[in-house]
Amino acid sequence: MSDVRVIARLDIKSENVIKGIHLEGLRVVGKPGELAHKYYSEGVDELLFMDVVASLYERNSILPIVQDAARDIFVPMTVGGGIRTLDDIKAVLRSGADKVAINTAATNRPEFLTEAAETFGSQCIVLSVEAIKRGQGHWEVMTDNGREKTGRNVIEWISEAESRGIGEVLITSVDTEGTENGFDIDLIQSVARATTVPVIACGGAGTADHIAEVIEATKVSALACASILHYNKCDLATIKRRLRDLGCAVRP
């Protein structure tokens, strides 16, 4: 078994961390700084900050939050939501983040991925994909928290994005997101097979068993966890112990 990262995903709306179900019906779960520090002290491997309203209002309010967290949190940070230009990426990286997650801007203009990877290096460009199941083995790429259709097929889109130089894929199942009923294993498996870059599975973790299931079935490189952590369903130590028991190399 390979190495697995456990990422805490913080969806940010103005000054709060929020959580929805199927990326909708948002509920406030805490303050970004407090949760980020809590998860850092509990051994989280990476933090993912998603500005969930940035695409909607075409504004970025997340930078001060990231900068504040990066002052005394020394694990990698990825920032997504409303990343539209090379200048946006530069500003995020200057705030102490290591990677950016891009969704809407890439589906609007795929060349943006090429430009971003050539300018900043593949290692800091994460393709963020929100997927909704449309049939057996068929998922559509969505944007704006699963509200807007793109008409793109998830698997084809990820192949194209890989050829444009992305370094990682964050795949979020809108169908399972926030449900705490387990991952869409078919989706994660299909994505893992469609690309050679590391895959971060997101959407549906409610128990350590769900995490063990998706890792065993798909061998993905990382998991993004939100509800399971925010609602104290299971703590990071328990998740990591479970992964170690599976034979994964996990940071203590």
């Binding site: 005394d72 694990v75 290591d98 290692q123 061998k219």
Partner: protein, 205 residues
């Protein structure tokens, strides 16, 4: 006083914060004279090798870095900065490096089965000490560090490898060192308490 070389391609914010927390005095500079006058230098780096070396040349930073090495003063390269210490890199072409630690930068081996490590190698890996490097044993934690890279240094002399990880069956240097020149392929400034502790010990506190 530590000098962090600013050539426009590093995550200066996080490195600066790490040094702040450790109570290490530092300044950030793109002035070759200021760099040349320093006895302890951090060479950060994120991005592509050829582009980064071009920036170093543009800023007339080659001579100062060689001068520091000749005097026996300390240079610590981080991630791409560690790769730049090598002789050359085969990333998108063939580019000359600083040649302070003889070696070649090559692409990491691809996985041979589904449970192998995907490239880029992104995540926390446990580093094994080599050639009597004793810092890792003094950190008080398992030496897991955060890596994010697609290329790695192959040292010409195996004695220069001070720490390594295994990527898809191949031993990849994680820490390289020669005299007072050190390179960390991982990001100590993003590796939690262990990374901060390694930085502190490297700078003698």
């Amino acid at each position: 006083m530590i000098c962090v070389v600013d050539y426009g391609r590093g995550n200066l914010f996080s490195i600066g914060r790490a040094l702040d927390v450790l109570g290490l005095d530092y300044f950030v500079s793109h002035d070759p004279d200021a760099v040349a006058a320093s006895s302890r230098v951090i060479l950060p780096g994120v991005g592509a090798f050829g582009d980064a070396m071009a920036k170093i040349r543009e800023l007339d930073m080659l001579d100062p870095l060689h001068e520091i090495a000749r005097r026996g003063d300390q240079i610590v390269g981080i991630c791409l900065g560690a790769q730049m210490l090598a002789t050359r890199s085969l990333e998108f072409g063939d580019h000359a490096g600083l040649d302070l630690i003889p070696g070649e930068v090559r692409r990491l081996p691809d996985p041979v089965d589904p449970s192998g490590t995907r490239i880029p190698n992104i995540g926390w890996r446990c580093v094994e000490a080599c050639n009597g490097y004793d810092m890792l044993g003094q950190l008080g934690h398992e030496p897991y560090f955060y890596f994010v890279h697609s290329f790695g240094v192959q040292c010409a002399d195996p004695i220069d490898v001070l720490g390594s990880i295994i990527v898809n069956g191949e031993e990849i240097p994680a820490i390289i060192g020669c005299d007072n020149i050190y390179g960390f392929q991982f990001h100590p400034e993003k590796s939690g308490a262990v990374g901060l502790s390694l930085l502190a010990k490297t700078f003698g506190i």
